[in-house]
Structures are given as C-alpha cells and as structure tokens.
C-alpha cells in the first residue's frame, strides 16, 4: 500500500488552476490523481472542475481529459473504456462528477455504467449543492441547509428534505467496490483510491468535499470541517467490497452535530427544532453504521437548549 511519503511528487493536476482557496474538490482531485498515476484518462462533466481546471488556453491536467456535458459521466466512462480496451491499452478510466451530476441529472447514466459493471472508476465529489451555478439545492443537500433555491424565508427556512442515501443506491447495483472518503482522513483516502484503482469492474468513490462559498465557511478550515463531519456522524467512512460492508473509521464519542453546523454559514439560521431533527437523522445513521449488534440505540446528544438567534450578521449573509 502507498504511504503519504511514497506518493509521487509529480502533480498530474497542476498548480495554476483557478479553484477557490480551500476548495475541497480541488484537494480531492489532486490527491486522487496522484495515487491513480499517469496511465489514467479523466472525464469531468459540467462542474467547477471544468471551469477551474480547463479554461482554454490553460489546462491543469497532465493526463488525457475529456468533457462534453453534464448528465453523462457514466456513459462517457463506458465509451472511453471500450475504446481503450479495443485498442489494447491499459488505462484507468476515471470520472470526477459532482453531487448534482451524480445524485440528480447524472443518476441514470451512472446507474447504467454500474449495472453493466463497466471497468471504470466513478468518483463523486459531494459538496452538497450545485455550486458551479451558484449554490442551488441538489439531492445531496442536507436538511436545513441554505441554498439559493432553499432560501431562509419568513415561512420556509432552508432545505426541507434529508440528504439522499446515494450510497445504498450505488451499492444496490452489486458492484465490486463502493467507498466513502474524506480529505480529513488522508491515509484512509489514499488507501481507498489505491484499492479502487486495482479492482476491476465498476468502482465508486464517494468523496466529501467542502465548498468555501457554498458552505459559507473559512477557507482555512476545509480539513477541519470534514473531520467534524465525521466525528459528528454527518459523514461516515466505510467501504462495501463485493457486498461486504466495513467501517474504516469509527469516531469515539459522538460529537454534537451543532458543532459541525456552526462552522458554516449555510446552517447558522437553523432553529433548535430543525437542528434537533437533523441530530435525530444523524443518530439514526450513526446507529445504522456504528452500533454493535444487539446493543441499544445510541443518541447521546441532547437536543440543543438555546434557540440559535438570527443575528444581524446572519441577516446580512442570508437575508431574513
């Protein structure tokens, strides 16, 4: 297994791209492609990745790169892989799609490639909204989150649906490998990318990738926020290999989801009631993933006592 020290120095996704400081997507791409290596061909659907990595006449990719549209990552990977195989070339074919491009508009195309078990690596960079178009709700947006299409209004505050369970949908295709990753856990990240690279058939890596403007957070705290997501249970690190699920990192004592939420402007408007509802959702997920068989359900976090006041500063940020 590759260690951090052994990661090649050469960046195949080079400096000079125009992603925001602290972009979780750019960090994930750069580290994933270092593990995947030169014999890789990449498809990126419509997303920030196309804009910040390929705006002509500049390009950050040192491996073959292809882009056409938004909803077709699965199909483009299938086509590329078929051509390489026909030509007798050994290439890791990898797609980097966002949550909109995977949970929503690209779900069908992804499902097709997964169901056919095509020999491709599908990476979903999940920043929980349509960020490239300016922060609109996707199927991956968490409960309560502000986006421009789930605004904090007088009657309705933020997203009213809980994050879609994409992992189970992908795993239901009975593919060889599905894993969730976070750049806050780099060893786990590297190990899973390397593992996915060496498995044949359809592999899916689900990466948790903070978006600085979309999450309204401090660009210096990208890694920290992913760690808090994992510690609170908002994001879980696991893998499913040939149907066998394994938790790859189990947090110690469950941390309040509020600590995670308050790092980000997109959640700061949330009422106690909403925070509590989200906490309950997290507890359910926590028990599903971490609970020992036969032991009682855990939800150690008491509902928040104080109503989180909407301050003047937040009004400026999000409107009323």
């Amino acid at each position: 297994m590759i260690t951090i020290k052994e990661l090649p120095d050469e960046n195949l996704f080079t400096a000079g791209h125009t992603a925001c400081p602290g972009c979780g997507v750019a960090m994930s791409i750069r580290n994933a492609i270092r593990v995947l290596g030169k014999d890789t061909a990449v498809y990126v659907p419509a997303s920030c990745g196309v804009v910040f990595g390929t705006t002509f006449p500049y390009g950050a990719w040192k491996v073959p790169f292809f882009h056409t549209a938004f909803e077709n990552t699965g199909a483009c990977l299938t086509g590329m892989q078929a051509a390489f195989e026909k030509k007798g070339k050994k290439v890791t074919v990898v797609g980097f799609a966002g949550d909109g491009g995977t949970y929503d508009i690209g779900l069908q195309s992804m499902s097709g490639a997964a169901e056919r078990n095509d020999d491709v690596l599908y990476i979903c960079l999940d920043n929980e909204a349509y960020m490239n178009t300016g922060i609109q709700r996707s199927g991956g947006t968490p409960f309560g989150a502000w986006t421009t299409t789930t605004p904090v209004g007088k009657h309705i505050q933020g997203n009213r649906r809980f994050k879609k369970n994409l992992g189970d949908i992908v795993v239901a295709h009975e593919i060889p490998y599905y894993a969730t990753l976070s750049i806050g856990q780099p060893l786990d990240f590297i190990r899973k990318v390397e593992k996915a690279k060496n498995i044949r058939g359809f592999r899916f890596l689900h990466m948790f990738t903070p978006c600085i403007p979309g999450w309204k957070m401090d660009p210096a705290r990208t890694v920290e926020v992913t760690k808090r997501a994992v510690e609170s249970g908002m994001w879980t690190l696991y893998e499913v290999e040939n149907g066998e699920k394994r938790i790859t990192y189990k947090p110690g004592k469950m941390k309040s989801v509020k600590d995670y939420l308050m790092m980000q402007g997109r959640f700061r408007h949330m009422s106690d009631e909403d925070i509590n509802a989200l906490q309950m959702w997290v507890c359910k997920k926590w028990n599903l993933h971490y609970k020992e068989k036969g032991s009682p359900d855990i939800c150690e976090i008491a509902p928040p006592e104080e109503h989180h006041a909407v301050t003047e500063e937040h009004r400026e940020m999000h409107g009323p």
């Binding site: 030169k38 014999d39 890789t40 061909a41 498809y43 196309v50 804009v51 390929t54 705006t55 002509f56 006449p57 390009g59 990719w61 040192k62 491996v63 073959p64 790169f65 292809f66 882009h67 056409t68 549209a69 909803e71 077709n72 699965g74 199909a75 483009c76 990977l77 299938t78 086509g79 590329m80 078929a82 051509a83 390489f84 195989e85 026909k86 030509k87 070339k89 290439v91 069908q108 195309s109 499902s111 097709g112 169901e115 056919r116």
Partner: protein, 390 residues
C-alpha cells in the same frame, strides 16, 4: 454478392464491412433491427467490436463521443425520439470533430406519437454540425454507410455523419442489395488514424471550457469543415463509383433535367416514385425533370442553382414542416435560389408516414406547371390532407 435484405440489415452489414470498433446501442423503432443485427455479428464472432448496451440514447451518443475521442471508429443508429433525446450530444460531437457515423431511421417525432416515416426528427438536428444525407433504397443505404465513414474521417472534414433512411419504407422492406466483399471495403476505407486523441502517451484535453476569446474560431473551423465536405463528398462519390460501379451523383442527383421546363426536388424513397411519374409525364410530352437532394448538410446551394437555371418553375417536396411556413427543404431551397426569378412552390406530403402516391406527385407537377405559366398557385401546398387541400 446479391442478398435480399431490409434497409436496416443493409445498414448493419455496411457497418460490419467498415470494421466498426465501438457500437453503443439503444433500441427504437424502426431502427432496432440495425443494432440487433450488429449484436448478432458480434456474438457470432463476425465483427470484432465492443457492443455497449446503453440505458438511453443520450448515453449512446455520450459513449460514442468518448469512444471516438479515444480513437475508435464508432457506429450507432437511432430514430425520432431517440435522436431528440441525444440532441444535446449532437451539438457536442460535431465541433469536437468526432467522426461518428449514425444512421437515422426517419420517423415522425411526437407529438402526436407515431412510428412512421417523417423527416421532422432529423431536421431538428440540421444546425448541429452533423452532415446529413437521405437515401432512396437499401443499396444506397449500405453504400452510404461506407461512404459516410470515408467522408467523416477525411482530415478535411472530421465531422459526424447521419445517413437517413425512410422508416419502414426502407428499414423493414426487403430489396435485392449487392453486398461488397470485405477486401473491397478494406481497400476503399483505410483504418481510422486520428491525430489528436485521448492517449496517455500524448495527453490531450478535449472538450475544454471555451471563453469568448476562442469560441468563435471553433465555430468558424466547424463551419469551414462543413463547407469543405462538399468537395470531399463529390470526390468520394467518384472513387466509389469507379470501384463499385454505382454513381450516386454526390450532393445531388438529377433525372431527365437536360431540357426540363419544370422540376421537382425530392428526398428519400419518394424519389423512386417520382422518377416513374417523370417517365409517364415525359411520355405525354411534358418536359419535366427531377432533382434528388441527397445531402441536406452540407446544403448544395451551388449545385442546385446550376441544376435549376433553365427551369421556368420548381416544386419542392417536403416530408416535414417548419411551423413558421413550409418545409425545411423548401426554405433552404428558397434561400439558395435567392435572386433567381423562377417561381418555387412547396409540396408537403407523406408526413407522419402517409403514403406518397403517384397521383400526389402528378398533382405536384401539375401545380408546379401552373406556377410556371404564371397562374395563381399557393406557395405552400398540403397534399392528400382532409379538409381544405389541393
């Protein structure tokens, strides 16, 4: 070797003879027989290709684009709703200069839903950068799949090509077809060897984000490629004719036009029926002729101008309608002939797959004759419709 086969079968054999390497496929009537035959060829070991059963036409064209960008010779086929569903990807493939060949089994695009022949499916793709041609019989369908690859892959062109064959009239009708030998096709169509592909040995970025500083040049290059395809089409038509003895005329074909006073422009299978009508009218002493519009993209403006220069009136057959007025071919022809004084009238017939009979075509000539005489005639004429009609 002569075989009695359907148009779809002829197209599939054409693709096999071209040694296509990747075939993403999705069923839709009346194209489905094409991909079924290809699946048979692959599973019987007659064709060494990657046959990909995609989950939609959008994914078909996406996989086709990606496979072509990775350097493979790519073939697929579609029709109607399927073509509409992949519409976005048609626009992606042409400017990226991916020489995919995809026959369209011409079928009405709903609503209202129907499955029979109409050109309103492919007409919607006329501004996508794809070259488009319309064939008249199963022999031409097979031959044009072969020519299409040669046109598409020519370095002066590098554009995708869509040969259109009339749904059911050709796709599901058997005709005798002279099937070329594999060696003959191998010597006519060299392997596809593109300069820039997705290759880890020489990494390239294809489909990068284009700011306004560059996108116009891309458009201009694509337009230039469509323009230069005219010369290539004629050249390849001649080479094919020399080798196989079948000369289709290139961009257009003409019939009894030398001394014609009036003529009709047709596309697809209606051309065959129209030829018979021309012969019958000629026997009666009427100086009528026929122009078969083979390529709609590129549009053969120059060739048409020349062909109609001595006419006193021209009728244009359309099997689809642009709702602002008349058919698409009519509008293109009018535009091409701008500045010429001859009356041009439109004949709409056979929409939704309705039979276009000899009687209807007789009527088309009759009305065109009236226009030639300066009599009052409608500009747009709907043939064989209920209610007010001609």
């Amino acid at each position: 070797m002569k075989k009695v086969i359907t148009g779809d079968h002829a197209v599939a054999i054409g693709a096999k003879l071209c040694r296509v390497e990747v075939v993403p496929a999705y069923p839709i009537t009346p194209q489905t027989l094409i991909i079924e035959h290809i699946a048979d060829f692959v599973n019987d070991g007659e064709l060494d290709a990657k046959f990909l059963t995609m989950e939609s036409e959008h994914s078909v064209m996406s996989a086709a684009a990606a496979a072509s960008a990775a350097g493979a010779r790519v073939f697929t086929a579609t029709s109607s709703q399927g073509l509409a569903f992949m519409h976005e990807m048609l626009y992606a493939t042409a400017p990226l200069r991916l020489p995919i060949v995809m026959p369209d089994a011409s079928r009405t695009l709903g609503g209202p839903p129907g499955i029979w022949c109409e050109y309103n499916d492919s007409m919607g793709a006329r501004d996508s950068g794809w070259l488009q041609l319309y064939v008249e019989d199963n022999q031409e369908a097979l031959d044009m799949v072969i020519q299409s690859f040669r046109i598409a892959e020519d370095k002066r062109v590098l554009l995708p090509v869509m040969p259109c064959l009339d749904g059911f009239v050709l796709t599901h009708t058997v005709e005798p077809v002279d099937v070329p030998q594999q060696e003959e096709i191998d010597s006519f169509l060299p392997p596809y060897e593109p300069d820039i592909i997705l290759d880890t040995a020489r990494p390239a970025m294809i489909g990068t984000f284009m700011p306004p500083e560059y996108i116009m040049e891309m458009r201009r290059q694509t337009a230039g490629a469509v323009e230069s395809s005219k010369e290539v089409i004629q050249e390849i038509n001649s080479k094919f004719a020399k080798k196989f003895g079948r000369d289709y005329g290139g961009l257009i074909d003409t019939y009894r036009m030398d001394d014609a006073e009036i003529a009709l422009i047709t596309m697809g299978t209606v051309t065959s029926t129209s030829r018979e009508v021309v012969d019958e009218l000629r026997q009666k002493g009427e100086k009528v002729g026929l122009i078969k519009l083979r390529f709609f993209r590129p549009f053969p403006s120059r060739e048409l101008k020349k062909a109609v220069s001595k006419l006193s009136a021209l009728g244009v057959f359309d099997r689809s309608i642009s709702y602002h007025g008349g058919g698409q071919v009519y509008n293109e022809v009018r535009s091409a002939l701008f500045g010429m004084t001859i009356p041009v009238i439109n004949h709409l017939a056979g929409l939704g797959g309705r039979d276009v009979t000899k009687e209807q075509i007789m009527k088309m000539f009759e009305l065109t004759r009236k226009a030639a005489k300066g009599e009052k005639v409608n500009e747009i004429n709907w043939h064989d419709t209920r209610g007010e009609t001609v």
